[in-house]
């Protein structure tokens, strides 16, 4: 069943087209990511699902029901906010039980449900504390418990891991994924971190300027970017201009080539090659990033750090398998 359906949805703020003709179909139980830079319309799409914004055009359905004009408090959708938005004057238990309290669930029952939810996010026994007494990561978990205790059909997450440090973020990514699989709830999450989107999502919609640039599985979006923007934003692929495409026998005017698909050596059988000079390199831990200048185009190559890197200014031949070169639709 379709969890969320966007049919040509637009949200314009005066002359600003925050969301411009978006079509989406999110399946039930899917972990769906909306990826894009700030101002790309991804958060507005999330707010349209939550009901904080109303579309200026198009049609939205949540589990087959029309969503336009339905206020947030009548939608079977809950949100984990970017700043967590925990109620500072309530205890953790009252925060988590809030949704049940306003729905009129009895005191004992909602206390038990809230404690179960806290146990689920690995914060058992934290109920009597206040939001101010918790760390960022703990607050994040409380926000998650507060949303999940209402058993939403769709859980919306707005940059949920944005405020956490790297270590905690990786841990939460894993936990969120496990939680989503075990609960079977549709998760829709917004992020500007491509690594996060690639590692967590079943499918990704890449946003730019209020439109979806590409929608597909992480592999598709990463390996076969449809537009120059996607190539650049997801996985920082090289974009080869028309001149190089022609030389390599590609008909389209732009093609993408991932840095890790390139090797710094003479071509083997059936491989394509280009020659240029090394213009820079930087050590990134597991790999070294080498920038090669080919007729004025800078092509970035990710080479294992264990290999010897040629000096800056020395001539070099780069090669790659022909099927690693992906023609793109437009600039």
């Amino acid at each position: 069943m379709t969890a969320v359906l966007f049919d040509n949805v637009s949200r314009h703020f005066g002359a600003v087209r925050a969301v411009d003709g978006v079509n989406l179909e999110i399946a039930e139980g899917e972990f769906f990511a909306m990826l894009g830079p700030s101002g790309s319309g991804k958060t507005t799409c999330l707010r349209l699902m939550a009901g904080f914004e109303q579309p200026t055009g198009g049609h939205i359905e949540i589990f087959g029901e029309t969503a336009e004009g339905v206020p947030p408090y009548r939608r079977s959708v809950n949100t984990v906010f970017q700043d967590y938005a925990l109620f500072p004057h309530l205890s953790i238990l009252d925060n988590v039980a809030y949704g049940l309290m306003v729905k009129g669930v009895g005191r004992e029952e909602r206390r038990r449900a809230a404690e179960d939810a806290l146990a689920m996010v690995k914060l058992p026994g934290y109920g009597s504390r206040r939001p101010g007494q918790l760390s960022g990561g703990q607050r994040q978990r409380v926000a998650l418990a507060r949303a999940l205790v209402n058993k939403p059909k769709v859980l919306l997450l707005d940059e949920p891991l944005g405020a956490l440090d790297l270590k905690l973020r990786e841990q939460m990514q894993e936990e969120l994924k496990i939680l989503q699989k075990s609960l079977g709830i549709t998760f829709v999450f917004v992020t500007h971190d491509q690594g996060e989107a690639l590692s967590m999502a079943d499918r990704i919609a890449v946003f730019n300027d209020g439109r979806i640039q590409q929608l597909g599985s992480p592999e598709e979006v990463y390996k076969q970017p449809k537009t120059r923007f996607v190539a650049d934003f997801v996985g920082s692929s090289n974009v080869l201009p028309a001149k190089l495409c022609q030389r390599l026998g590609v008909t389209s005017s732009f093609a993408s080539l991932r840095p890790e698909a390139i090797v710094l050596s003479a071509p083997g059988d059936g491989a394509l090659s280009l020659s240029g000079t090394v213009s820079a390199h930087s050590f990134l831990g597991a790999v070294t990033r080498v920038v090669v200048d080919v007729d004025g185009s800078r092509i970035s190559v990710a080479t294992p750090a264990s290999l010897v890197v040629p000096k800056v200014g020395s001539p070099v031949t780069i090669s790659f398998a022909a099927d690693e070169l992906h023609p793109m639709e437009d600039a």
């Binding site: 939550a50 009901g51 947030p72 408090y73 809950n78 949100t79 700043d83 938005a85 809030y98 306003v102």
Partner: protein, 271 residues
Amino acid sequence: MRSDRLNRSPLGLKIAAAAGLAFMHVPILLIFLYAFTTEEKSYQFPPPGLTTQWLAVAWNRPDVWAALTLSVKVASIATTVALVLGTLCAAAVSQTRFFGRETISLLVILPIALPGIITGIALRSAFSMAEIPFSFWTIVLGHATFCIVVVYNNAVARFRRISGSLIEASMDLGADGFQTFRYIILPNIGTALLAGGMLAFALSFDEVIVTTFTAGQQSTLPIWMLEELIRPRQRPVTNVVAMIVVLVTFLPILGAYYLTRDGDQIAGAGK
């Protein structure tokens, strides 16, 4: 307090501070002292003798009671009106974006920036033009103009501290507008409203200028006191009333101080 052995202040500063405090508070003590003097026509020092007879005299004067009840009524109603309108206005200005928002914000604050005498004259001529007879209600309206500002200022500052996502979170979790106000907004602005309301009450209670222009035959307590000072008869009665006013206004302020001190304990309890 306990660590002041490390940074002792010089004696001169201590004396200056004491003198400053004395300058502010000794005259108030004198008011108390003269409430018990036996001399009723002038304030001579030291008082020739002490008596408690003026307490009884004040108690039995109907004009004291009339002025006091009028002042309490005016202040209560003006504060109530200000609490409702000031909160609504603060909510609109701080939580939404609309054309003319800054202008409205300025216009609301203007009455307290304007000299009271301007507000008074303006209201008086407006009431005359509209042929509204001067009454209890014209005093209330006059007082409400500046009471709203006080409540508004307190509430708007607190509203700005409530992050917009708290209200959205509440709605998201299934609370409608009324529930969100009841469970989220009110507990967060409650102490600001209490403080604003008390200040508004106190301002209204001792207001003279606007009252002079908007009152009919009624005299509120401060106006009654002014009139009494001009008449050299039973002067200590005024002091007795002043003393009672100090006590009556001091107690709620003290109470509110203790209430707001551990304010985060009240909100959200017992639900």
